[in-house]
Amino acid sequence: MAQAIFRIWRGDSGGGEFRDYATEVTSGMVVLDVVRQIQAEQAHDLALRWNCKAGKCGSCSAEVNGMPKLMCMSRTSDLPLEKPVTVQPMKAFPLIKDLVTDVSWNYRVKKKIKPFRPRKPDEKDGTWRMAQSDVDRSMEFRKCIECFLCQDVCHVLREHRLLDEFIGPRFLVHIAALEMHPLDTENRLEDLRKEHGIGYCNITKCCTKVCPEDITITDNAIIPLKERVVDVSYDPIRRFLARYRRKASAVGLAS
């Protein structure tokens, strides 16, 4: 058992301050346990959001010692408890109260993305056949729990506030899952470059670093999408080949 100081942000959109709470930390506690203990014993009006306490609902996102983290997956044994531990709300989103932010911008962004459009069913009964190895690639992206920690840490959103220009890593992961799906026939590459602003990502990998589901966001989702965008928008040889193939297949169809 150890005494520790937790420095928690208290306030709302009008302003606020960090307040220190001295509390007991016992072995096995995670930051969410400590914050709930403080709420129960010292600060009954402390607002926080949580649900599963198992790293699966994505609702307890906050910043622990300055890094975006799920409070329920942050072990106190990994923290230097001899110094005050800061717990603050996600910076990238408007503050509602204390540790709770308004993440609804993310839901609005998701609506702008072209949905899954499967090819015609392969079988008469309306079902499809796909190879497991082809779907495996996008499975990693489907682990996302929409905690929005990656959106919070991404400097394009966090620092430069380009929320109208850039959809952020979470939704690049979502698009990667759709684009790489073997049944999907939709084309989102033009949108990616224009409306979704993939060019704003400068591949600095902070999103990958904070993802609690260990999704290799930058290397497996964003860079492959950037490469697909290069194919259709920037690479003259690829564009020429694509046009040539289109023409050839049109001739083939006509003959």
Binding site: W9, G11, S13, G15, G16, F18, E63, N65, G66, M67, K83, T86, Q88, P89, M90, K91, A92, F93, P94, L95, T101, W105, A131, S133, D134, R137, V153, H155, V156, E159, H160, R161, L162, L163, D164, E179, H181, P182, D184, G197, I198, G199, Y200, C201, N202, I203, T204, K205, C206, K209, V210, T218, D219, P224, E227, R228, V230, D231, Y234, D235
Partner: protein, 267 residues
């Protein structure tokens, strides 16, 4: 539409509540890359001591024009302006230089270390304005795949250099013998590490299979994609190891050529 930021945490260079040494990693990258740039520029400008026996420095290979026996097309051209510095390295170093400069890993690393964009994750930045890679000048980074094509050719040339580094001339009889020197191992390690780096490139990963969604129908591509992906997971490691070793290979050949180091023959 305006998007308010949280008043509790205003932006500003270096602002963060991270208590750890967040500056350490960008500082190491800054130091490592700067040291390499300084050394390689110095070495490229030397124009001498870049070959020794069957070895040629990778900074000078392929030697298109130059004075050494490794030169492909003869000596320095007579029309080269006298006021313009000359070195065989100038003709080729743009290729590996451009390849590394536009590499996805290095881009992320030097945007952080040299441009503080961001200095580290969740740390405030020095500038408000941000263009990213979607507009000029950084949109030019999309040329990376073209540098890849050249880098793949360089891998072949450097492998050939290792082959040549296996044949030693007897200075008395003039006969050529098969052998292995420490320099051979240095050059072989160099090409192995460069291979690990180049063959793990993101653009190559895309080219060999990443751009397809139905790899199960293309077994050759599927295997190639898995191999490149495997190296790609260690891309950062190979980027640093190969960077260090290519510099060391030049240093090794240079010091042997200057007579400072002796190249030991293993057999």
């Amino acid at each position: 539409m305006t998007h308010p930021t949280n008043a509790l945490n205003p932006s500003g260079f270096g602002r963060t509540t991270r208590p750890d040494a967040w500056w350490l990693q960008p500082a190491v990258v800054l130091f490592g890359l700067s040291a390499f740039i300084v050394y390689s520029t110095w070495a490229a400008f030397q124009g001498v001591h870049y070959y020794y026996g069957p070895y040629v420095s990778p900074f000078y290979s392929p030697e298109l024009l130059g004075e050494s026996p490794h030169s492909w097309f003869g000596p320095k051209p007579s029309w080269w302006f006298s006021w313009l510095p000359w070195s065989p390295a100038f003709l080729i170093l743009w290729a590996p230089g451009g390849f590394r400069l536009t590499c996805y890993y290095y881009r992320g690393a030097y945007y952080k270390a040299f441009w503080a964009d961001p200095p580290a994750c969740a740390v405030g930045e020095p500038r408000k304005r941000y263009l990213g890679e979607g507009s000029f000048p950084l949109i030019l980074q999309n040329v990376h795949r073209y540098f890849l094509y050249v880098a793949l050719a360089f891998l072949v040339f450097l492998t050939y250099d290792v082959w040549k580094a296996l044949w030693f001339e007897d200075l008395v009889t003039g006969q050529v013998h098969f052998g292995v020197g420490v320099g051979t191992l240095v050059l072989a390690t160099n090409v192995t590490l460069l291979g690990g780096y180049t063959l793990g490139c993101h653009s190559l990963r895309h080219l060999v299979g990443g751009r397809h969604d139905h790899l199960s129908e293309r077994p050759v591509r599927r295997t190639a994609y898995s191999c490149v992906s495997c190296l790609n997971q260690r891309h950062m490691m190979f980027a640093w190891l190969s960077l260090f070793w290519v510099g060391f290979s030049d240093l090794y050949v240079r010091l042997c050529s200057m007579g400072v180091w002796t190249d030991w023959r293993i057999f």
